[in-house]
Symmetry: C2
C-alpha cells in the first residue's frame, strides 16, 4: 500500500453511519488523503515504510467541526460577562472591536483561537468575522481547515466603513481564494436585524454567483424574533425564505427560537444549522430544539461561537454540555444518545458546512483530518463504550495528536505549527489594559 503516515493503536470511530468501532485500528494516509481504515496490524504490514503515530490505546476519530465561531474574538475572552446580548453587543463588544480589531489584531486573535481549537481536537472551523483575507492566510500558515467569511453589517465594521465596501471586499475574497486547498471563502450578512433586505438579497446573489456559503446569525434571541415579526409580519426564518436568500449553502447560526413551520422551511431549503449551546445559555437566549431538528433530518452541527460569549473554544466540552441539556429539557435520558452527539460533532458539522464529501468521517478518499484522544488519566478509566466515553468523559486535555489535511498539527499535546509561548505573550500584551483603554 502506498502511504506515508499511519495513525495506529486506538479504537477507530470512523463516524460512517452504521459502522462499528474498529478495535486496535488505524488510519493510513497518503499526502492529504486517507487511503485505508482498518486493523492496525494489517495496515502497518501493508506499508512497512510509513511513519506511525501512536494513539496510545485511545480513540482515533475524525477531527471535530466547529460550525460557528468568530476566531479573533479570542482576544475578548472574559471581556464582558453576565450581560444580555444586545447590551453586550452594543455597549461592550462592538465599541471594543472598533478599537481593537485591526487586520494585525485579527491575525493575532485568529492564531490564538486556532491554537486553542487544535489543542481541543477541532480540525475544521467556520469563521464569521472581519479582515477575512488575513484570517485565511493565517489559517493556511497554521494548517487549520475552514470556511471563512467576511461579514457585512449595515453599520461600520472593523474592516469596512460601509456595507458597499463590504460587498466589494467579499467579491475580492471569493475571487482570490477560489479553489484554495484548505479554506472556503464565504459571505456573511450578520443577521436579519442588522442587515437590510436589499443587502441580504445582494449577499445571496453574490454567494450564488460563486457557489459560496452564505453564513448568518438567525433566530438567536426572542428579541430578534419579536423585532422581525413586528417589522415584517413573519418570523426571521420565514422572512429570509421570503427574500429568497436561503439555500443548501446557507449556514444559519443559532436557530434557538424557531417554530415548527420554521423547521419545515429550514428542511425545505436544506439549510445547515450551526447550534451554539453554550453561547445561547450564557447570553440567556435559550436552548435550540436540536433533537427536533435531528428528528426532522435537518443538517445540524455544533459551534462554540466566539470566545467572548462562551468563554472558550472547547467544542467537545460544549457538545457534552448540550448532550446533557437535551436530556434534562426533554426529561428523557434516552434523548440524543452518545452516538448521535458524536455524529453531530463530526460528520454532522461537515454536512452543515458543505464539506461532507471531504471531511467528517474516516473513509478512503476523504482528507486526513484525524484526532487521537488519550485514555490514560484517572477520569478516562475505565472505558466500557467508546462513544459514551467521548461524549460523557473525554476532555480537550486528552487530545494527543491532531492531523489536518495529512499534516500533523498537534503531537503529544503540543502545537507543531505555532510557537505557543510566544503567541500567548503576544496575546497578553495586545489585550493588556484593554478595559482601561476603552473607558479612557
Amino acid at each position: 500500500m502506498d502511504c506515508d503516515l499511519i495513525i495506529a493503536n486506538g479504537t477507530v470511530l470512523t463516524m460512517v453511519p452504521g459502522a462499528a468501532p474498529i478495535p486496535a485500528g488505524a488510519v493510513a494516509v497518503r499526502g492529504t488523503d486517507i487511503v485505508a481504515v482498518g486493523p492496525a496490524r494489517d495496515l502497518i504490514a501493508a506499508a512497512p515504510g510509513a511513519r506511525v503515530i501512536d494513539a496510545g490505546g485511545g480513540l482515533i476519530l475524525p477531527g471535530f467541526v466547529n460550525t460557528h465561531m468568530h476566531l479573533a474574538m479570542s482576544l475578548m475572552r472574559g471581556f464582558a460577562d453576565d450581560l444580555p446580548l444586545m447590551t453586550w453587543l452594543e455597549k461592550h463588544i462592538w465599541p471594543a472591536e472598533r478599537t481593537l480589531m485591526t487586520a494585525d489584531t485579527v491575525a493575532l486573535g485568529t492564531r490564538l483561537a486556532a491554537a486553542e481549537s487544535l489543542k481541543a481536537g477541532v480540525t475544521c472551523i467556520c469563521d464569521m468575522y472581519f479582515h477575512a483575507p488575513r484570517v485565511i492566510d493565517t489559517l493556511t500558515e497554521i494548517g487549520l481547515r475552514g470556511v471563512v467569511a467576511e461579514s457585512l453589517i449595515d453599520h461600520p465594521t472593523p474592516s469596512c466603513p460601509t456595507p458597499e465596501v463590504a460587498l466589494t471586499r467579499q467579491r475580492e475574497l471569493l475571487e482570490r481564494y477560489a479553489d484554495h486547498p484548505l479554506c472556503v471563502p464565504a459571505v456573511a450578512p450578520h443577521s436579519p436585524y442588522s442587515v437590510c433586505a436589499a443587502n441580504l438579497v445582494k449577499e445571496a446573489e453574490l454567494a450564488d454567483e460563486f457557489g459560496a456559503p452564505f453564513v448568518t446569525h438567525l433566530a438567536e434571541t426572542r428579541w430578534e424574533v419579536e423585532k422581525i415579526t413586528a417589522e415584517k409580519g413573519m418570523t426571521p426564518v420565514a422572512y429570509l425564505a421570503d427574500l429568497g436568500v436561503l439555500s443548501e449553502r446557507t449556514v444559519a447560526a443559532h436557530c434557538v427560537h424557531v417554530t415548527p413551520d420554521d423547521l419545515d422551511i429550514l428542511a425545505e431549503f436544506e439549510v445547515g444549522v450551526a447550534s451554539n449551546p453554550v453561547s445561547n445559555l450564557k447570553l440567556g437566549s435559550g436552548v435550540a430544539p436540536v433533537p427536533q431538528m435531528v428528528e426532522r433530518g435537518l443538517k445540524v452541527g455544533f459551534g462554540t461561537d466566539g470566545a467572548a460569549s462562551n468563554n472558550t473554544l472547547d467544542l467537545l466540552r460544549d457538545v457534552q454540555l448540550a448532550a446533557l441539556v437535551y436530556k434534562g429539557v426533554a426529561a428523557d435520558p434516552t434523548c440524543m444518545p452518545a452516538r448521535t452527539i458524536a455524529e453531530l460533532l463530526t460528520i454532522g458539522g461537515a454536512r452543515v458546512l458543505g464539506l461532507a464529501d471531504k471531511v467528517g468521517s474516516l473513509e478512503p478518499g476523504k482528507r486526513a483530518d484525524v484526532v487521537c484522544i488519550g485514555v490514560d488519566s484517572p477520569h478516562a478509566v475505565p472505558v466500557f463504550e467508546p462513544y459514551a466515553h467521548l461524549v460523557y468523559a473525554a476532555r480537550a486535555a486528552d487530545v494527543r495528536h491532531v492531523v489536518v489535511d495529512g499534516r500533523v498539527l498537534v503531537r503529544d499535546g503540543e502545537l507543531e505549527t505555532l510557537d505557543e509561548a510566544a503567541l500567548l505573550a503576544e496575546a497578553r500584551q495586545a489585550t493588556n489594559g484593554l478595559v482601561e483603554r476603552l473607558k479612557g
Copy 2:
C-alpha cells in the same frame, strides 16, 4: 512569621464574602493551618525560611468542595448510559454493585476517584457509599478531606445484608472515627423511597446521638415525588420534616423537584442542599432551582454524583455547566453571576457539609486546603476578570498544585500520594470484562 509553606505568585481569591481579589498574592501555611493571606512580597519577606510553591501567575483559591458523590462508582464510569434512573439503578447499577463492590474494590474505586478529584482541584468530598471504614482509611492515606457515610437501604447492600446490620456498622463507624483529623463519619439513609419510615427515624436518632451528618438523596425525580406523595400524602421534603429527621446536619442530595413550600421547610431546618447538575440532566431528572435556593438563603453546594451517572468527577466542569444552564432556564444572562457560582463551589459547599469553620475560604485559622489554577494555555488568555475566568474558561487540566490540610497532594499537575500509572492499570484490570461477567 512562623510558617513552613507559602503558596505564592497568583491572584488570590479568598472567597471571604465581599473580599476583593489579591493580585500577586500568597497564602502562608504552618502545619495544617493557614496563618496569613496577603501580598506575596510581604509574606515571603516575613518568612524567609518557608518553602514556596509557585502558582505561576494564575489563580490561588480554596479547594473545591464536592458535596455529593459515590467515590467507588468511578469503576462503573460509562457502564450504563442513556437510561432512565430507575432502570439504570435496578437493572444495571445495583446488580453490578452486588457483584463488583467488595471492600477491596471500594478501596480501589475510592483511590481512582480521589486521584481524579485531586487533579480537578477538589480538596473535600462527601461520600455516600458502602464499606465506609475502608473509604476513610483510603482517603487518610491519600490525604483527601471528606464527610464519609455508610449507606442504609432496606434491601441488601454490598456491605450489609440487612438494614439492621447497616445500623450497627454505622454506629461502629461513628465511634471509631470520632475526632478523625481529616474525615467526618456520617450516616446515610439512601432515600425516602428506599428506606422505610422506621429506619429513617432510627438513622436520625443515630446521627443526633453523635452530632453526625445525615446524608440522603431527596426529591431527585418526578417519579419519587409522585410515589411519596401517593403513599404519604405529602412531598418527600415534607415527609422527612414530618418524620422529624431534618436538621442543620442534613445533607440533602439533588432537591430537583421541590415546591416553594419545600424550600421553606429546607430553610426552616437549615438543611444543606447538594445539587448535582450533570447527573440530574444526564438521567433526565431536571434542573434544581438553585438560583431560588440561593435567593432564599439556603445552604447550597455542588456535587458530581458518582461517575456512573456523570461520567466524570470534574466538579469545576459541572459547576460551569450549571452556571450556564441557570441563565438559559431563566432566560436571563445576569442570573447567577460568576462570583456567586465560585462561592457555591467553595465556601457554599463547606457550609453544606458543616465544615465552613474549617475550610471553604482562605483565612488565617482555617485548614490549608488550597488549589492553584494555571493561566498558561491558549484557552486561558487573556484573563480580564478572575471569577469569570474560573467559571467560564478554566478547566481541570489547569490545576497545577493542590494542598489539603497543609500537605501538597498535587504538584505541577502530578499526584504526590498516589502512583497514578499503577492505579490506572489496577482499575482497568478490576473492570475488564465486567459487562460480560454480569451477563454470564
